[in-house]
């Protein structure tokens, strides 16, 4: 594998990792506040549809992004209403959202655009374009190793990729350095203590879920208006669950979660490269085995065979004052 191939694999890794990072950070806010969210998948899918539909109608990817964020937040509020206000089962609620959206998006796309459950293919002005960072071409040719790295891997992505990169330190700052973050972590570990301190558990969880919805919406918008050019049914294809796995793999912490997303995305990029390639001494590795790798790793991690993942203590348990 020469250097340029390596760079192209890394470039693919970044592209795949971006939506995973956004969705995993979304899950981080929800779960750190004590609300389990397996509805990341559905919210991403809703975001992807809303973004493509709005971008296609208005011609602006930014309005698409806004629509996606609103769709994500709306579904997050359904989740909050069921699980925080009515103390419903969080896993069941997340599942309901996933299934609802899996049905709703093709239904609406089918009725509104008459293209068999897709949105029209977006023109270049209706999508987020890749940005060439300053001096990318000049440096790429003059500086040996780092120049091409800068040109191929770091430069040339759309704005949402950079937003995802930026979201990691911002999340880390919010969770560990801000007052909101302190309360967020507290409410995920010991809600009754937070309640005793006179802070509303429900309000905090609602706030966390608003952030969660916005981030999943953005992740969905990335799929349909930046990476792809329009919505196709089930276009998330399990990416929300993969983000959940990355979150667990990252032990509910921002930087390790980013690392897990990059690892899973790398596995995906390598998998595309390895299709049908005969590796000396090993032979052809069936792509499916690389595809299942993130899931197997997550199971092993959860089982405590690879490190140990400890969830926020109160996650999954509805908070009832009188208990």
């Amino acid at each position: 594998m020469d250097y340029m191939t390596l760079l192209s694999v890394l470039d693919g890794t970044v592209r795949t990792a971006a939506p995973l990072v956004l969705a995993a950070l979304a899950g981080l806010f929800a779960e750190r506040s004590g609300v389990v969210d397996i509805g990341l998948e559905g919210k991403m899918l809703a975001g992807a549809f809303a973004a493509a539909a709005a971008a296609s109608v208005t011609g602006s990817p930014w309005l698409g992004l806004l629509a996606a964020i609103l769709a994500g937040i709306a579904l997050s509020m359904v989740h909050a209403y069921a699980t925080v206000t009515h103390h419903g089962n969080q896993v069941v609620s997340g599942m309901a959202i996933n299934i609802l959206v899996a049905g709703l998006t093709p239904t609406l796309a089918f009725a509104w655009f008459q293209q068999g459950g897709q949105t029209p293919i977006l023109q270049s002005g209706e999508r987020f374009q890749s940005i060439t960072l300053p001096l990318a071409d000049a440096l790429g040719d003059t500086i040996p190793v780092l120049g091409p790295l800068y040109r191929e891997v770091i430069s040339g992505h759309n704005i949402l990729v950079y937003a995802a990169v930026l979201a990691v330190p911002v999340t880390a700052w919010v969770v560990y350095r801000s007052r909101f973050g302190l309360r967020l972590r507290a409410v995920g570990e010991n809600p009754s203590a937070v309640d005793t301190a006179g802070i509303s558990v429900a309000k905090l969880r609602y706030q966390a879920l608003v952030i969660c919805g916005a981030l999943t919406g953005a992740a969905g918008a990335y799929l349909s208006t930046a990476q792809g050019a329009g919505f196709v049914r089930d276009m998330t294809a399990g990416m929300g669950y993969l983000a959940l796995a990355a979150l667990i793999f990252g032990k509910w912490k921002p930087a390790p979660t980013l690392a897990a997303c990059l690892l899973f995305a790398l596995a995906d990029a390598v998998q595309i490269r390895l299709q049908g390639v005969d590796i000396p001494g090993i032979g052809i590795i069936p792509v499916q085995f690389i595809q299942m790798l993130p899931y197997v790793l997550t199971v092993l991690l959860l089982a405590g065979f690879v490190g140990k993942a400890v969830a926020p203590k109160a996650s999954g348990i509805p908070y009832v004052k009188e208990r």
Binding site: E31, V36, I38, V78, H79, Y81, A82, T83, H86, H87, G88, N89, V91, V92, S93, M95, A96, I97, N98, I99, L100, V101, A102, G103, L104, P106, T107, L108, F110, A111, W112, G117, R233, G238, Y241, L244, A245, I248, P286, Q288, F289, Q291, M292, Y295, V296, T298, V299, L302, A303, G304, V310, A311, P312, K313, S315, G316, I317, P318, V320
Partner: protein, 386 residues
């Protein structure tokens, strides 16, 4: 992710799912599910209105498409068969306080086992094949559920997450097997060769034909009978055996179970193995009964429908049969709906399914607390007056 208990669903779920409140049974088992269904249908109607169709006309077509003519009934019952299996599977896990999202993967692997029986026992008479396939489907599904169960019981890994992961692992394994291993020679699409015709599970129209009853052709086959037998078996198991008693005790209060000398880990594994086995029987219907070969993605989401069915059916076999029938009707009527209305496609049914899970599962307290309050008030009044 409740670290205090190893339950997949936590305390609230255990209470909500099976503990009768202070209200009479019919409120819990008939009125509340009916209210949930009405709410789900009402929101679905809004969606149908939003896409510019008439919801009442659509429901009419749905009903006609599922029960309106004899052939449709056969199709409805064929879908119902799958949903009974997965609904029972989810409910057995629920009784142990576990949320089994892995029905999809368990059905897939169970179907693989059934398919291998079909491939290997070519020429054998169908009753023999059917019995072996039942054992194989159960073993396949149970095996796929066993690993997450063991990890939950002994390593504390959260069963919801592991079963989700196992769905994806099953999908990858099956794609690999069908693309690279089991694919019929000279075949383009990833599917196995067709089983020997002697091994096929008889269709209901054939079976009833033997005793002189003629019904129209449909994919409905004898696995429907097995589904009903499974309902009876689950009923006996859960409410009339020591195993069922222990499973329910662990599901309701794990600590009490430990004090009573009941092992939570053993029962978690037992309940999940039974759950997986029931999901594995989907293969009996789809693989041995209808497709007569292994194809990619034959489960098509039935594991997830099982969640809606179990919630709607209040985890009781009779409720599950009724809820499965409802979803069978939705799936069959849904295709009719797509045919008659230019703006509606099949996925509309999935919308209803999601809403049922939302109202009957996640929002179960929405109506419950109100109905219970209403009921308490109405029973208290005569007492204060007199």
């Amino acid at each position: 992710m409740a670290s205090g208990s190893t339950n997949g669903t936590g305390d609230a779920a255990g209470k909500g799912f099976n503990q009768p409140g202070e209200v009479p049974g019919w409120v819990n088992y008939a009125l509340l599910p009916a209210l949930n269904l009405v709410a789900a249908l009402a929101v679905s109607s809004l969606v149908i209105l939003a896409i510019g169709e008439n919801p009442i006309a659509a429901m009419g077509v749905l009903l006609y498409g599922s029960f309106g003519y004899p052939e449709a009934v056969g199709f409805t019952l064929y879908y119902t068969t799958n949903f009974i299996f997965t609904g029972l599977a989810v409910s057995v896990a629920f009784h142990c306080g576990l949320f089994n999202i892995g029905g999809e993967g368990q059905a897939y692997i169970g179907g693989l086992a059934v398919g291998l029986v079909g491939l290997w026992f070519g020429g054998a008479p169908w009753p023999v094949v059917a019995i072996i396939a039942i054992a194989a489907g159960a073993a396949g599904g149970a095996a796929w559920a066993y690993v997450p169960a063991w990890l939950q019981a002994h390593r504390g890994s959260h069963i919801v997450i592991t079963t989700i992961m196992f769905n994806f692992i099953a999908a990858s394994v099956m794609t690999y097997l069908l693309v690279d291993v089991l694919i019929a020679p000279g075949q383009q699409s990833p599917e196995s060769r067709q089983f020997d015709q002697s091994t096929w599970l008889p269709f209901m129209h054939q079976a009833l034909g033997w005793i002189g009853i003629r019904i129209p052709n449909s994919p409905l086959n004898l696995s429907f009978v097995w589904a009903l037998v499974c309902c009876a078996l689950v009923w006996v198991l859960i409410w009339h055996t020591r195993w069922g008693y222990e499973i329910r005790t662990v599901g309701q209060n794990e600590r009490a179970a430990v004090y009573a000398g009941i092992s939570p880990s053993g029962n978690i594994i037992l309940a999940m193995a039974i759950s997986g086995a029931l999901a594995g029987f989907v293969g009996l219907n789809e693989v041995l009964g209808v497709n007569h070969r292994l194809i990619l993605g034959f489960t098509g989401g039935v594991g997830f429908v099982g969640i809606a069915v179990a919630l709607m059916g209040r985890n009781h076999p009779i409720g599950i049969v009724l809820a499965a029938l409802l979803f069978g009707a939705l799936y069959q009527g849904g295709s009719e709906l797509a045919f008659d209305f230019p703006n509606i496609n099949r996925e509309m049914v999935v919308v209803i399914q999601g809403l049922v899970i939302l109202f009957a599962g996640a929002l179960e307290n929405l109506f419950k607390s109100r109905v219970e309050a209403l009921f308490r008030r109405s029973t208290r009044q005569p007492a204060t007056a007199g």
